[in-house]
Symmetry: C2
Subunit: 276 residues, 2 copies
């Protein structure tokens, strides 16, 4: 997938919403408990209910790996279902991987060959050769962690050198030498929306994947204010606030309603910026 195709979806759907499939088996609605592969059944219902309002889905690998082999089966069925039925959707493996070159190459195979993901989130700590194996695939993206939405982001991401460059800024600057905005995006948390202005000074054109809106408390209008560029440049993720909006047999309908609420807000923000 290219950024142009992502932008086309944004304009068509008037949305830049990514739905995070953090499909915790312990939180699934009671009505699915006796279903074979309840995680897949849940994801399928959520995707069918929200795909009109979403440009991307982001399965969070931890929630599948915690179920062992059956979790990996649910993941594979989910991403194949999405790719077959909604081929325009941008499919992100939220995996936070990154290892020495020969190992990152195997992770790239796992997500880009064995599974049909368009992008994978990667941690920057191990540097260029831990990232570059993911960049050898045409029209696939690395989404590199820059500034995350959690409290622990303060521990190292703001570590500062003698000219007041922070680690996350160094990550943004250095990694731009590795790939263009057609191969790389960045994770920047919505819980630090005002920081998006600093981020945009360094990476004006790259797409940013923004988690932290919804359950984590980030504000969508603030994110748009500081982070939106003239190609939108934002993919804003919401997980729990949409997929677990309701725990009865109305869960899919309630997820759809929550996705619509977000999409309506996004449509207004896109209009304000004259993108649509």
């Amino acid at each position: 997938m290219t950024t142009q195709e992502i932008f086309k979806q944004i304009v068509t759907k008037k949305s830049f919403l990514c739905v995070g499939l953090d499909s915790d088996i312990n939180k699934l609605p009671q009505c699915l408990k006796n279903t074979t592969d309840s995680v897949f059944a849940f994801n399928k219902a959520i995707v069918d209910a929200t795909a009109k309002y979403s440009i991307a889905y982001k399965p969070n690998l931890a929630f599948y790996e915690s179920n062992g082999i059956s979790g990996w089966q649910s993941l594979e069925k989910t991403v194949n279902y999405i790719k077959q039925n909604y081929p325009d959707i941008f499919l992100i493996a939220d995996a936070k991987r990154g290892d020495i070159g020969n190992t990152s190459k195997m992770y790239a195979q796992a997500f880009f060959e064995k599974l049909p993901f368009d992008a994978v989130t990667v941690a920057p700590y191990m540097g260029e050769d831990s990232v570059s194996p993911f960049l050898t695939y045409k029209d696939k993206f690395v989404i590199l962690l820059a500034l995350t939405s959690n409290k622990g982001a303060n521990d190292f991401q703001f570590f500062e050198n003698n000219v007041h460059d922070k680690l996350f800024e160094q990550v943004l600057r250095t990694s731009q030498k590795w790939a263009t905005s057609e191969q790389m995006m960045y994770v920047v948390g919505a819980t630090r929306a005002e920081m998006l202005a600093d981020v945009r000074k360094i990476v004006p054109n790259h797409f940013l994947l923004v988690p932290g809106v919804g359950a984590q408390g980030g504000s969508l209008s603030e994110v748009a204010k500081y982070g939106m560029n003239n190609q939108c440049g934002l993919i804003v993720n919401s997980s729990r606030a949409i997929i677990f909006a309701d725990s009865t047999d109305k869960f899919a309908q309630r997820a759809e309603e929550e996705a619509i609420k977000v999409q309506i807000e996004m449509r207004e923000l896109l209009k304000e910026k004259k993108i649509i």
Copy 2:
């Protein structure tokens, strides 16, 4: 497992060798190609041949995930086989995980509950709450990336503040507030053996997992010189140089020979330090 139990194994086996199960399906000996679950068959043969000389095994998750569901099956069979047949062995998931708290909690479940690992490698970029969910398990370890063995380590790990503290030093210092040496170890690459002296100034007592000996070119005697403490404090990993020492039907025997070579060198280093 406790560090005392690890130390007991070091003394008994006169070894601090960890064998890395980077079991690339494309590199398996021809004689295993038609075996059902050739990766598991390979791992079983390698483990049976080397367990007398090794204190730890370290499956590298990427090499299993790249095979999808069947890879996860091979992994599960491998770690269950090791735990059942060699209960004293320290079992490390080389996974380089790390995410926001509710997600790291699921990774911890994956490796410590669903699978019987004793330790998991974790990337520090996202800070304390990305690490702490792994620390809630008694006698299980986080092995935090500090200084890695690859070229890309130079990109960010040496990023320096105004008092010349480097990022990897900051990681070592800060993370010591999160856990004791009974819950935390650190990854420090053998390709930078002289840096182990600096690392030991900050973490004199913690066990260090040292990759990079063997195929990556690190020197075992240098690692011992700069990194060994009076409880050994080292778990030195070798992957390819042992498991892929030979590609014929003699592969297990040749792996054993390579493991013995390393063990003999380790025995001498332990004697020099008067640990045995």
